[in-house]
C-alpha cells in the first residue's frame, strides 16, 4: 500500500466516532487505486470522485473517508448517502474543513466518524449533533421522520 498512510487520517485524528468496532489502523487509497487493487480495505473519496465506482468493492471496505477540502463543497453529502443506500456498513469518516454547523447534516447523511482539520469544541459539537430532535426527510440515518410520526397508528 506504499504511501497510503500519508493519504488518510489516522484514528488519532478522529474526534468523534459513533461506532464500537476497532478503527482501521492503516491509511486509505484513492478511488482509482481501490478499483485497481484487489485488497484495499480503506478508501478516500475526493469531492470530484464518483462514489458509485467503489460500490462493487464495498464488501471488503472497512473504512471510507470522504474529504471536504472546503466546507461549502457539498458533494460529499451525496457520496455518503449513496454509500449507505448501497448497504455500506463500515466506517464512514468525514475529514477536512468541517465545522460545528455541518455536523448534524453529515450525521444524517450517514457519516459515523469525524476528523475535522481543526479540533472542535466538545460541548458545542455535542449540542450540534443533537440540534434536530425531529427531522423532515428520510435520509441515511433511518430516523423516523416528522411525517412518519404524524401518521403512525
Amino acid at each position: 500500500m506504499g504511501n497510503a498512510r500519508d493519504l488518510g487520517t489516522s484514528p488519532d485524528e478522529v474526534q468523534f466516532r459513533f461506532r464500537d468496532d476497532e478503527p482501521v489502523d492503516h491509511g486509505t487509497v484513492t478511488v482509482d487505486a481501490c478499483c485497481d487493487q484487489t485488497n484495499a480495505t480503506a478508501v478516500r473519496i475526493e469531492p470530484g470522485d464518483d462514489a458509485r465506482l467503489i460500490l462493487p468493492f464495498l464488501y471488503r471496505l472497512a473504512l471510507v473517508e470522504v474529504n471536504f477540502p472546503v466546507f461549502g463543497d457539498g458533494r460529499g453529502y451525496s457520496a455518503a448517502r449513496i454509500l449507505r443506500e448501497a448497504g455500506f456498513t463500515g466506517e464512514l469518516r468525514a475529514v477536512g474543513d468541517i465545522g460545528i454547523d455541518q455536523l448534524s447534516h453529515m450525521r444524517r447523511c450517514g457519516f459515523d466518524s469525524f476528523a475535522p482539520d481543526k479540533r472542535l469544541d466538545e460541548d458545542a459539537a455535542r449540542r450540534a449533533f443533537a440540534t434536530w430532535e425531529n427531522v423532515y426527510q428520510r435520509a441515511a440515518d433511518a430516523r423516523r421522520t416528522i411525517a412518519d410520526k404524524r401518521h403512525e397508528a
Binding site: 464518483d50 457539498g74 454547523d101 440540534t131 430532535e133 423532515y136 421522520t145 410520526k149 404524524r150 401518521h151
Partner: protein
C-alpha cells in the same frame, strides 16, 4: 391555509436558538466573518450597502392577518417602519441590527414564520401562483404540493451546500403567474387522462447572467413520487453542477452543458434508485396538508358591480381577477403608487391590509411576484368597501400589469451588488406615463428593472426590460424588449447601446410610440413586438 403543528413549530424554534448561538459566537469573535457568513445567509441575513438586511420567507406567498401584523410589528420594533416585498414573494427589512436578528426571528417564529433558507446555496423559499386556491382556471390548488416541498427542502441534510442557490416554483394552471419556467426547477401540477394528479417537471431555467428557459424533463411524475423525483433531480445537480466558477454553477448551466437528454437520463437513473430506497413521505402526509387548504365557506351573493363611480370601475377593471366562485373576485393591492418605491409598504399599510384580509378575505393574503399584495377572496358585495379603504391608505392605484406596475429591484439604493439604481427609474417612468395619460392608452405592458446582472428585477422577462450597468463609475442602462415570464415565456433582447438615466426614460417613451403607431386591434405591446420585430424599435431609438 397551512398551520404549523408542534413539529413545525419546534423546527423553527430550534433554528432560532441555533442562530442565536451562531450570532453570539460571531459577536464574541469565535466565528470569523468567513465562517459566519454562510450561517447568517441561511437565516436570510445579508450585509447590504447600508446595514444588515433580513429576508423573511413567505412560503408560496400565502399569509394570514396575524402574520402580516407581525411583519408590521417587526418593521417598527427592529427596523425603520417599512419593508420591501420582493419578486420571490418574500419581504426584506433593510435596517436590522445583528444584535437584534435572533429576537426578530423569535418574533417571527411566534407567528409560524421564519427566514430559513432565504439565502445561501440551498433550496430557497418555494414560490407559487398568487391566485392559487382562488383562480377560476386552476386544475387544483398548488399550495399543498408547495408545502410538501417546503418541508422536504427545509434543513435538507444532503442539499445545504449545493453549487449555487436553488429556486423552485409550483403552479397548477395553464396560465403561468409565477415565472415557473425561469426557475431552477419549475413544477406544474397536472391531471392525466385518467384524472390522476401528477407533477410535470421543468429544470434548468433561470435569469441572471445567462438567462435560460427551463426545458420539460418529465411530463408526469405520479404525485406520490414527486419528492423522490425532486430528490433525484437535486442529487444529480449536487454531484455534477459546476463548482469551479460561481457564474456557471446554477443548474441551468449543467442542463445546458450536458444537454437536457443526458440530464434527464441521469435523473431517471437516480430516480429509479431512490424509488427503491424509499424517500417519499407517507401518502397520508399530502392528505393531511391538503386538508389545510380546503375552500373557505364561500357564500352566494351579488355578482354584479355598481360601476357608477368611474375611479372604482377603473380599479375593478384593472386590479381584480376572476375567482372560481362567481360571487367573489381576487383583488390586487398595488404597492406601485405613481412615483412610489415598488414593493415598499409601511407598517401602517401592512396593518390596514391585515385588517382588510380579516374583514373581507377569510383572513388570507398573498404576496405577488410583481411586488404587490393580494386579497384572494373578496365577495363582490364588499368590493367597494375594500377599494375605499385601500384608496384612503395609498394602496388603491389602479395599475396592475400596466406600465406603472413596474418591477424594480432595490438596486444601488440598497444593494451592495448593484451597478445602478433601479427605483428612481421606476418612479420617474410611472410619473411620466401617469402625467401624460399614456398608461391607459398603452394598456398591458410589463416593465422590469434590475440594478445588475443578477436580474432580481426580472428584466429578461420584461416586455420592456432595463438593466443597470456600470459605465466607468457612472450609471448606465441597457434596454431590452420582448421578454415574458408567463405561459408565453420568452427572453428579452437588447436593443443596442445603453442610455443614461434621462436617456432610458426617453427611450421607453419612444418604444411605446412605435408600439402605438404599429399596433393592430387588441394587440398588447408584446404582441406587436413579436409581430414586427426589433427593427422598427431600433430605428426609432438609434436611427
Amino acid at each position: 391555509m397551512y398551520r404549523y403543528d408542534q413539529y413545525d413549530q419546534a423546527m423553527v424554534e430550534a433554528r432560532v436558538e441555533e442562530f442565536r448561538d451562531q450570532a453570539r459566537r460571531r459577536l464574541e469573535g469565535k466565528l470569523s466573518e468567513d465562517q459566519f457568513k454562510p450561517l447568517r445567509l441561511m437565516n436570510g441575513l445579508y450585509l447590504q450597502l447600508h446595514a444588515y438586511m433580513l429576508r423573511v420567507a413567505i412560503p408560496y406567498g400565502t399569509l394570514n392577518s396575524r402574520q402580516m401584523e407581525a411583519l408590521a410589528m417587526i418593521a417598527e420594533k427592529y427596523d425603520r417602519g417599512y419593508g420591501h416585498f420582493t419578486t420571490r414573494q418574500n419581504i426584506q427589512y433593510n435596517w436590522i441590527r445583528l444584535e437584534d436578528a435572533a429576537d426578530a426571528l423569535a418574533d417571527l417564529a411566534s407567528v409560524e414564520m421564519h427566514a430559513i433558507q432565504t439565502s445561501g446555496n440551498c433550496i430557497r423559499n418555494i414560490s407559487s401562483d398568487h391566485f392559487a386556491g382562488a383562480a377560476a382556471d386552476e386544475v387544483i390548488d398548488p399550495r399543498p404540493y408547495a408545502e410538501l416541498l417546503r418541508q422536504w427542502s427545509s434543513f435538507h441534510p444532503e442539499f445545504t451546500y449545493l453549487p449555487r442557490k436553488f429556486k423552485i416554483a409550483v403552479i397548477a394552471s395553464e396560465k403561468d403567474r409565477a415565472a415557473m419556467r425561469l426557475h431552477d426547477i419549475g413544477i406544474r401540477i397536472v391531471r392525466n387522462d385518467a384524472g390522476e394528479v401528477g407533477a410535470q417537471f421543468y429544470a434548468g431555467g433561470g435569469m441572471g447572467r445567462t438567462p435560460m428557459i427551463a426545458p420539460l424533463i418529465r411530463d408526469f411524475v405520479p404525485i406520490d413520487q414527486m419528492i423522490t423525483y425532486a430528490e433525484a433531480a437535486l442529487r444529480v445537480y449536487n454531484r455534477y453542477g459546476r463548482r469551479d466558477n460561481k457564474y456557471k454553477a446554477r443548474i441551468k448551466i449543467l442542463v445546458h452543458e450536458l444537454g437536457a437528454e443526458e440530464y434527464i437520463r441521469q435523473v431517471e437513473e437516480e430516480f429509479a434508485h431512490l424509488l427503491s430506497v424509499g424517500v417519499e413521505p407517507p401518502r397520508e402526509e399530502l392528505a393531511r396538508i391538503a386538508a389545510h387548504f380546503t375552500d373557505p365557506p364561500f357564500a352566494d351573493g351579488p355578482k354584479t358591480i355598481d360601476r357608477s363611480d368611474p375611479d372604482f370601475a377603473l380599479w375593478v377593471d384593472r386590479n381584480t381577477h376572476r375567482h372560481k366562485h362567481d360571487a367573489y373576485v381576487s383583488a390586487v393591492i398595488s404597492l406601485k403608487p405613481v412615483g412610489g418605491i415598488p414593493g415598499d409598504a409601511t407598517a401602517d399599510q401592512m396593518r390596514i391590509v391585515a385588517r382588510l384580509a380579516k374583514l373581507y378575505s377569510f383572513d388570507e393574503l398573498r404576496v405577488m411576484h410583481t411586488q404587490n399584495l393580494l386579497l384572494p377572496h373578496v365577495a363582490i358585495k364588499d368590493l367597494k368597501a375594500v377599494w375605499t379603504a385601500l384608496d384612503a391608505a395609498g394602496l388603491g392605484a389602479p395599475n396592475m400589469d400596466t406600465i406603472e406596475d413596474i418591477i424594480a429591484c432595490p438596486g444601488l439604493d440598497y444593494c451592495s451588488l448593484a451597478n445602478a439604481r433601479s427605483i428612481p427609474l421606476a418612479q420617474r417612468i410611472s410619473e411620466r406615463f401617469a402625467e401624460t395619460g399614456r398608461t391607459d392608452v398603452v394598456g398591458e405592458l410589463k416593465l422590469k428593472i434590475s440594478g445588475c446582472i443578477n436580474a432580481c428585477g426580472h428584466h429578461h422577462a420584461g416586455h420592456i426590460g432595463i438593466l443597470g450597468v456600470d459605465k466607468k463609475g457612472v450609471e448606465n442602462y441597457q434596454l431590452s424588449l420582448g421578454g415574458s415570464e408567463a405561459e408565453d415565456v420568452s427572453l428579452a433582447k437588447i436593443t443596442g447601446p445603453g442610455f443614461d438615466e434621462d436617456g432610458v426614460i426617453a427611450a421607453v417613451e419612444k418604444v411605446t410610440d412605435v408600439y402605438l403607431a404599429a399596433r393592430a386591434d387588441g394587440e398588447r405591446f408584446l404582441d406587436t413586438y413579436r409581430r414586427i420585430g426589433m427593427e422598427p424599435f431600433k430605428e426609432a431609438l438609434y436611427g
